[in-house]
């Protein structure tokens, strides 16, 4: 794990305020995975069950079609694979 340089008390907003909304986008949780979801477009019927259930909003949609996963955020929980009615998502071991 890389050593993050944290800011000092004079450099952060007072009172624990977070002034920029939606900053969790900058927080990489993709490193937490031990299994990784692989999307198979051929089997996918674009029912969006995976998109509905994903707790991290990591299912990428483009032009009404599921096009893959945001691996920067995806924690590899496997909910998407579990709910997929056509087994279009497969959990494979994360190779590191």
């Amino acid at each position: 794990m890389s050593k993050e340089i944290k800011k000092g008390w004079k450099e952060i907003p007072i009172g624990g305020l977070l002034l920029d909304a939606g900053n969790s986008r900058e927080y990489e949780t993709g490193t937490w995975r031990t299994f990784k979801p692989i999307h198979n477009a051929e089997k996918c019927i674009n029912c969006y069950f995976c998109w509905e259930f994903c707790p991290d909003n990591s299912i990428l949609i483009k032009d009404d079609k599921v096009v893959g996963m945001n691996y920067f955020q995806c924690k590899g929980c496997g909910v998407c694979a579990a709910v997929c009615p056509t087994k279009a998502i497969e959990m494979v071991k994360e190779e590191k």
């Binding site: 944290k6 952060i12 007072i14 009172g15 624990g16 977070l18 920029d20």
Partner: protein, 391 residues
């Protein structure tokens, strides 16, 4: 400026000050002896004399929560409570301070039971002395009134941004009619100015208040609070000076009474000090050179100032209106600590008085002065703690 005195109780003076401040939000729950503040302010709201959104909550926990919510969203928000009410809002009291919200709260000092008691002592606010709030103590209704406006300016000052408790003695001040010289609405408006908004919380400019703050940043935020408290005393001095220049009403962080040629003093806070001043005048007629020192600010504690003021005397007795069971009573303990590094130390003794509204009368203050004389002459009772007027 108006020169017409009005007959107001301390609670009415507080409500009038709140009316003239005209805060955006007031969330309160009534509790004896703070109730008349709520009653009077509700009347102003019902009569349309203020623009305030008054939130009639179901408990003090909610009162402070709603006040925090409003202040967090950028509103000028106020509340008031006493004793068990303060106890019920406890966790949010800390959150208000650590979230750096410039809330002004009227605190009508009452014994924090038990056995159950509704009368004055300082056990409620003294319990909250480490909550991160600024605490100002008022001697009479006039001080209560004036303190509100200064408190607001202190709380909202960019170098401070901390909540302030304006304390007054339950019943003794809150329910006693006294002469109060009010300011005109326009004068108050000009003095307090517009709130220095960081911006209202809107969908265009969102921000997060009160997020989880763990090992990585919590201490940095505490350091900020620690540092903010250091700015308070110079800010108060500046604001008190401005208040004196604008309205010809002079207040000091530490008020001295007939100390010029005194070799011994009584130190205490709030309403008892009025009585002390009168008894000092009596004793002076008998040639006893005694004075009084009244800290108006307890948090942050003006340690350096108190040391400088008190080191002039041979003996001091400190009156505390609360106990710290198993330790030093609050004001006494702070003063002891202030003197630790001093080269010249007076004899020092503590009296705990007036618990649960016990009348601290003229005879008791005379007794304190006779103890002071003994302390000055013999030093025998140095570092002792006693209850005044206990059977």
């Amino acid at each position: 400026m108006t020169t017409k005195y009005e007959a107001l109780t301390g609670a009415e003076a507080a409500a009038l000050a709140m009316k003239q401040i005209n805060p955006d939000v007031v969330a309160v729950y009534p509790i004896t002896p703070q109730t008349p503040i709520v009653m009077k302010f509700s009347e102003y709201v019902a009569n349309g004399e203020v623009d305030t959104e008054m939130v009639r909550v179901e408990s003090e926990h909610s009162a402070m929560s709603a006040t925090v919510g409003a202040a967090g969203a950028g509103a000028r928000a106020m509340t008031a409570t006493a004793a068990n009410g303060l106890a019920l809002m406890w966790e949010i009291v800390y959150i208000a301070a650590s979230t750096r919200l410039p809330i002004v709260m009227g605190l009508v000092n009452r014994a924090l039971s038990g056995p159950i008691n509704i009368h004055c002592d300082h056990s409620d606010s003294m319990g909250a002395r480490d909550s991160g709030w600024i605490q100002i103590y008022s001697e009479n209704a006039q001080e209560v009134y004036d303190n509100y406006f200064m408190a607001l300016r202190i709380a909202e000052h960019k170098d401070v941004l901390l909540p302030v408790m304006v304390c007054q003695d339950g019943f003794i001040t809150s329910h006693s009619v006294e002469n109060v010289l009010p300011l005109e609405d326009a004068q108050v408006k000009k003095f307090i100015g517009k709130k220095n908004f960081k911006g209202l919380l809107t969908s265009e400019k969102p921000y997060t208040i009160g997020p989880l703050d763990l090992q990585d940043y919590y201490m940095e935020h505490k350091m900020q609070q620690h540092d903010a408290m250091k700015h308070v005393i110079p800010v108060i001095e500046k604001i008190q000076k401005e208040y004196a220049e604008t309205f010809d009403r002079k207040y000091e962080i530490i008020e001295e009474y007939r100390t010029d040629d005194a070799d011994m003093v009584i130190v205490g806070m709030s309403s008892v000090m009025g009585t002390v001043k009168d008894v000092i005048d009596m004793m002076r007629e008998e040639g006893i050179k005694v004075g009084a020192v009244k800290p108006r600010l307890f948090r942050p504690f003006p340690a350096e100032k108190i040391k400088n003021v008190l080191s002039k005397f041979k003996a001091i007795i400190i009156l505390d209106r609360s106990d710290s069971f198993g330790s030093f009573p609050p004001l006494y303990g702070e003063i002891l600590a202030s003197f630790f590094a001093a080269e010249k130390k007076p004899y020092i003794k503590s009296f705990i008085h007036g618990l649960g509204g016990r009348d601290t009368n003229v005879e008791m203050i005379k007794e304190v002065i006779s103890e002071l004389q003994k302390l000055r002459d013999t030093g025998e009772s140095n570092f002792t703690i006693d209850y005044l007027g206990v059977r």
